[in-house]
């Protein structure tokens, strides 16, 4: 901007215009022939080595999880990076690629992930895959056979502790009979061959190696999976020192794609639409799985009166809140900055320190303090002014209170940026207006404010976008309340984001799918608003320049 003001004719700053044709070539040749220093080379080798190391470290889990797409991506990225930094060409890419990779990893990927979640029923009870649900159903239905014996257990192997076949050495507490059990069943052992410890546990047995806890827990999975068939059910381990006779009541049958209960004979058939096993009487098993639900989440947001009704009301307040918190803080911040900018003001440094104090406090803590200050009976606000206002109990007072808190927390920032911008406005301009006979108000309206706005508009838009999704400001003060007596879902001060947060992580259980759909709506709204305002800002700059 200062270059514009320096001379009316110079629309181009030196060095930014199209340079002569010879210039870049010489620069490039110079780069090519730049001496390769030992330090430079070492740094390059170390950093590329680091890249290779990180790639290897990330590759093993990917191989283990058989995520081949991820592995291919990783390999391609690493190869691309090596190529890019080993070749002397593609100078601009050398600077752009790291940032682009960060952008993909931390911006694009989460957005895509959110978008893909919005098409599923991901949430509590539908988190994993169908196989996981089946395993969970079967393993949680194992029950102790009523009246069966509890055995003292020692885990042993026939041979090497790490690799030999696992055997359960179990002692019947009533008779003291020791048996060895494996997948083939139980075999009685000769009492002469075994040594039984004080608790009934076998401590040594001929032909077997008794494992200690450390050795046994290294083979934890195998021990949990080992079932020794018996007449009543199967012998399973309960930890490493007890075994019980148990029976899996519910079993999955791939033929009918259903789960049957062997005790009651009830059958739950898989419903791929909802991702759960449903019985004929409508009862569904708790453990479900994640399925694609198409556009259901989106249509629910738009058509379910419980969601769409509040959604638009909330949207309106959301705009009011974002505009209000940005606007009020800007007005107050700018007013104070103007006052302190006046040359007649004394002790400005002291004022500045005092004014920045709210900004220096952690907003997280301050929001909680403000919440308590607005308490009807014990709050400072009511006690100080002798009021009996039920601040967070009435819709409008709660909204006012929230905006007041935002004002207090936000004006120091606006004050700081406005002070900075004011310093950048040359004194000659305002002096010139006063020479022309303009009043201070006129010169402020015609010169200072437009120039301030040009500098601060992007910050105001950013502040608007931030406040649009300012979950802390609401969640820590009112939690979205007060709530209408007949609707606990949507409060008077709820922003879309607090509303979404309640939907996704609230007390009623996680519904990530629906929350992701709402997030996409919010994203679209914020993006549209920001795009329109930035476009207007550009126009504004053209007008003023």
């Amino acid at each position: 901007m200062s270059t514009k003001l320096s001379g009316p004719g110079s629309t181009r700053t030196p060095g930014r215009g199209p340079a002569g044709p010879g210039l870049p070539r010489t620069a490039r040749t110079a780069r090519h022939h730049a001496p390769i220093t030992a330090t430079g080379l070492a740094v390059k080798v170390v950093l590329l080595g680091l890249v290779a190391g990180i790639a290897l470290w990330a590759a093993f889990p990917l191989v283990e999880a058989e995520k081949w797409v991820g592995l291919a991506l990783l390999a391609a990225t690493t190869a691309g990076l090596f190529y890019l930094y080993l070749t002397p060409r593609h100078i601009p890419a050398k600077y752009l690629v790291p940032g682009t990779l960060f952008l993909i990893a931390f911006q694009v990927f989460p957005v895509l992930y959110t978008a893909s979640t919005a098409f599923t029923n991901f949430g509590d009870g539908h988190r994993g895959s169908k196989d996981e649900a089946i395993v969970a159903i079967q393993s949680s239905s194992v029950q102790q056979v009523p009246g069966s014996t509890e055995y003292a257990l020692s885990v042993a192997t026939a041979g090497d502790p790490a690799t030999g076949a696992l055997v359960f050495l179990v002692t019947d507490p009533a008779t003291g009979v020791v048996s060895a059990g494996d997948a083939d069943g139980l075999r009685r052992l000769d009492p002469a061959d075994v040594t039984v410890g004080s608790g009934g546990k076998v401590t040594a047995a001929d032909g077997y190696t008794v494992l200690n806890f450390g050795q046994a827990s290294a083979r934890s999975q195998e021990i949990t999976d080992l079932v020794v068939p018996t007449t009543g059910g199967a012998l399973r381990s309960s930890g490493l020192s007890r075994a019980y006779e148990g029976r899996a009541i519910r079993a999955y049958d791939a033929g009918c794609d259903c789960v049957t209960d062997s005790e009651s004979g009830k059958r739950w058939t898989a419903d791929e639409k909802t991702g759960s096993f449903v019985a004929a009487d409508g009862e569904r098993l708790a453990q479900g799985w994640q399925v694609n639900v198409g556009l259901e989440n989106f249509s629910r947001v738009l058509t379910d009166p419980n969601i769409s009704g509040p959604f638009f009301g909330t949207l309106l307040w959301n705009f009011a809140f974002a505009i209000g918190s940005t606007g009020f803080t800007f007005l107050l911040g700018m007013a104070i900055a103007l006052a302190l900018h006046s040359p007649r003001m004394r002790g400005t440094n002291l004022y500045r320190v005092l004014l920045i104090l709210p900004y220096a406090m952690p907003s997280f803590a301050m929001l909680l303090v403000w919440r308590d200050m607005f308490n009807t009976d014990f709050g400072l606000v009511n006690n100080l002014f002798g009021l009996g206002v039920d601040w967070f109990g009435e819709a409008w007072s709660a909204r006012a209170a929230v905006l007041l808190v935002q004002l207090w927390l936000g004006y120091p920032y606006m004050f700081l940026v406005a002070t900075g911008a004011l310093q950048a406005i040359p004194k000659e301009l305002t002096e010139a207006t006063s020479v022309d006979g303009a009043s201070p108000w006129q010169s402020f309206r015609a010169v200072t404010l437009p120039l301030l706005l040009v500098a601060l508009s992007p910050l105001l838009i950013a502040s608007f976008a931030y406040n649009f999704n300012n979950i802390n400001a609401i969640w820590l003060t009112t939690e979205g309340g007060p709530f209408p007596a007949d609707n606990p879902r949507n409060g008077a001060t709820d922003l879309l984001i607090t509303y979404t947060y309640r939907l996704a992580f609230g007390a009623q259980g996680a519904e990530f799918g629906t929350a992701a759909a709402v997030s996409i709506f919010i994203f679209a709204i914020v993006a549209t608003v920001s795009a329109i305002s930035f476009r207007n800002t550009r126009k504004q700059e053209e007008v003023y320049s």
Partner: protein, 418 residues
Amino acid sequence: MRIRTAGVVAVLGLALAASGCGGSDDDSSAPAAKESAGATGGKLVIWADDKRTAALKPFAESFGQANGVTVEVQAVSKDLQTTFVTASQQGSGPDVVVGAHDWIGNLVQNGAIDPVQLAADQKSGFNETAVKAVTFNGQLYGVPYAMENLALIRNTELAPEAPKTIEDLVAAGKKLKADKKASEILCLQSGQNGDAYHIYPLYTSAGGYLFGTAANGDYDPKDLGVGKPESIAAFQKIAKLGEKGEGALKRSITGENSIATFTGKKCAFLVSGPWAIADAKKANIAYDISPVPGFAGGKEAQPFVGVQAFYVAAKGKNKALAQEFVANYTTKPDLAVALYNAEPRPPALTAALDQVKGSDPDLAKFTEAGRNGQVLPAIPAMAAIWDPFGKAEAAIIGGADPAKTITAAGKTISGQIK
């Protein structure tokens, strides 16, 4: 020189980018590291909240030393339940987790925990209510170690007599207020969004219920009591104590200020749990504990009984060892006593309770207050209750029409229950 610096910065950025990229591409690097550690010897990972972590550590270490395994106790200070569910889904969760019993429904529906098999004699060592609390769908899902329930804690200087009914309490509180000895009648936390847990004794005393019971003794999510005539009648009684009535229940009394108001001698009666006792002791208040009184002529006020328990993670790396620790080690009284010392809640093991009862008379009083309590439902449907029920409570305390409000809350809740 300038070019070289820029190059270094670029390459550094690239290295970071690669690591960032690798991190986002996979989410299973952590378990790989753990697995390799597990292969060399046994390793048990336990997750608990901050307070319990400190108490668990020595015991976990002695368990590890006695059995030649490594035991790691990790503190998860925030959102332990959701962190656990998410982590175990990704395969990076612990082997054992410590938490409240009302998590069970959610943990089971997400396949995050496995049942625990206890021998009959182990089971009989526990308080019956505690065992019932951790039983879900006929299976024992955790080993309980401590119990908690609400009681009426009263300042004996201000109120020497334990009130028999809530009406007596209100009368006594009003007199104290008139005499300027206290500024509040009763400290029962509600807040602007209500508190279903703390209002529950009054709700039951006035005849309301949450869920009916199924044939096997579990709560039946199909029989929802909220929105039924009993619940409306109950909230009509509660409304009389509210801001437009006696003023004994107020939204300005929140979870943050209720105990402080009591210890600041601004109210003579506090409805709270064992966790409030430490504050009362610190403030040097002469206090006594009695059951939460019910309405005159009403039913008995039944607080929720909550249980803290150890669970075996279904996707842990070392399930056999986890089962061993939970089923055969946490069932011993020593651990329960140590956990009691870390935070004074009545132990669920009868033997442990007997050990500490002598030195702490409050425990017996809390146990007495919870004698007729109801086990906090662990069914997943309970998650749908908290928020709407609490908000309806807050609205009614603030003066909203009970019938309309509670009918709407019942509708919201039944819409949430799948």
